[in-house]
Symmetry: C2
Subunit: 199 residues, 2 copies
């Protein structure tokens, strides 16, 4: 299969690269790294990426960030960061991808743990994760030509323990290998409309 | 208790009015009906509503709509309708409400069935519902002064059967009384960070 992995250079995206590279032609996409450069927040850049890469069998997205901070002090602009920087970029990757994804192909998005196991300051991210989880459930039933769509929702990765030190006290940290298995199932399996939780 | 019910004139909001009016002072808020008029999509109008009503013990929101249509033909603007017309208005009601809600008060938002039991054309609404469900889970842990936040996620109401005729084939239709019980639990109960499913 020919597989686009957006955010391939991040800790999460790297798990998908490692899980899939041996068996498939992986095209790594990043803002400034990888095989193809793309600004995921710019829909024209998404279109240009697809035009450059051409037809593919799977699109994996492991990108996005939001606002962290208490809800009582949150502004509407801060709330929207999760929508604009995590939800909409990944949804646009799907909406713009139909002309490029082969019959029976798949889209795999990435949400996260915070809408099932919240931490202080995480309501913006929790809303973004919930939107992505909801989107794949809703979109799966409308996919044409046998195309599938799923989300991977990982706990904090062991390799990111230092980066998020102190924010996720008591949370289990998952191995990159286990997260990679979820992307493998999403890309190489047969399910659709699923949120693959890695806890 | 003094309870604001936004969207009181709608089929869903009416269930909250019916469930709570006997025991509480209910202020019905609507775009053109009710005790106080407000445009939920205009943050200045939300602020003006709170200034007019003053301190309250509970805020219930039963408003919002999205785009219905197949995901393969959906534009980014259409996808954002669920965010802009359902998610953000309800979230803004929370973000702007902290100066007006009493200690131990509650916010109750309304999502819906489509992110757990999808129908064709419902991916925009499913994403919006997921965002709202995720938001209450994430926000609950950050609420100051004992304030609670929950969502009610009802199946299609029996009273709306005709309005949505043909779109929800095979879905159970729930009674207005059962939906009202969920709002009662959210406002008069003790739980927080919950999505009260009415199926």
């Amino acid at each position: 299969m020919k597989v686009i992995i957006v955010g391939a250079n991040g800790a999460v995206g790297q798990t998908a690269v490692d899980a899939l590279s041996d068996r498939h032609e992986v095209i790594k996409v990043g803002r400034s790294s990888g095989d193809v450069q793309m600004d995921i927040e710019d829909i024209d850049s998404i279109r240009a990426m697809y035009q450059q890469v051409g037809k593919v069998d799977a699109v994996v997205s492991a990108v996005g960030h939001g606002h962290f901070g208490g809800v009582a002090e949150m502004t509407t602009e801060q709330f929207m960061k999760g929508i604009n920087h995590k939800v909409l970029p990944q949804v646009n990757l799907v909406l713009e991808g139909f002309d490029y994804i082969n019959d029976g192909g798949s889209f795999t998005l990435t949400s996260g743990v915070l809408n099932r196991d919240p931490i202080s300051g995480g309501s913006c991210a929790a809303a973004a994760n919930g939107a992505l989880d909801g989107f794949v459930v809703g979109a799966a039933v409308d996919m044409p030509r046998g195309i599938r769509i799923n989300a991977v929702s990982p706990e904090v990765l062991e390799v990111s323990r230092e980066k998020y030190d102190g924010f996720f006290r008591g949370h289990v940290h998952v191995s990159s290998e286990d997260v990679g298995l979820a992307y493998s199932k999403a890309v190489e399996g047969c399910l659709s409309g699923q949120v693959f939780i890695v806890d």
